[in-house]
Amino acid sequence: MTLDVLYFAWLRERIGVPRERVESRAETVRDLVAELAARDDWHAAALADLSAVRVAVDQRLADMDASLAGAREVAFFPPMTGG
């Protein structure tokens, strides 16, 4: 499947792009993280500590075990600091 993968804040900076389109066979977010981390050192470093990473699937907060069935957009970002 084709996924738009978005990065925000320091994840965007470390990976070097705000978004990328990827071909993926991932069934869950965790599978996708493994695929992305295998791409290069920057992805691997940014996604090394998942306790510091939050995820949204199709713009809804999700967790690492969330299914990607039917998903189009996955975003990775640090814990939010709004307000």
Binding site: M80, T81, G82
Partner: protein, 143 residues
């Protein structure tokens, strides 16, 4: 109910004009850029699309939960200078407890669930990203 996500400054008085007509109690919360340790501005990144939807969903959830008669959320992104408002929530209800609790709940949620990320800007340029606080996560677990 009204949700605004914008880079421009907002006019609180204009937004609050007529807000909560018929209510007995209106509470507002305004968050401003505080000048800690040489900070000259904040830069806020957000997730366009998700931000608006998440804020609207949560404003509706707060309205239902606390029987609010009106809710307003306005949140800026981009560069925000020292002393300037970052965001405001307003809640209206027949009585004060619901208006206070609704605003308090919305703020706890905004602090750690709305897709915004703050970075500090010092005199020499961009500094670090603001770290999320455990206290904010704890605050959310009250509800």
């Amino acid at each position: 109910m009204r949700v605004l996500v914008q880079s421009d400054p907002f006019d609180a008085a204009a937004l609050l004009s007529g807000f909560g007509a018929g209510a007995g109690a209106v509470v507002t919360f305004t968050g401003l850029v505080r000048g800690d340790g040489g900070l000259v501005a904040l830069e806020l990144e957000h997730y366009p699309g998700m931000t608006e939807a998440a804020l609207s969903d949560h404003a509706r959830a707060a309205a239902r939960r606390f029987a609010l008669t009106d809710v307003l959320v306005v949140h800026r992104f981009g560069r925000i200078e020292l002393g300037a408002p970052i965001m405001m929530v307003a809640t209206a209800a027949p009585h004060r407890r619901a208006a206070f609790d609704g605003a308090d709940f919305l703020m706890d949620w905004l602090k750690s669930r709305a897709p915004f990320w703050k970075r500090e800007i010092g005199a020499d340029g961009p500094g670090g990203w603001v770290a999320a606080k455990d206290a904010d996560e704890d605050a959310l677990s009250r509800w």
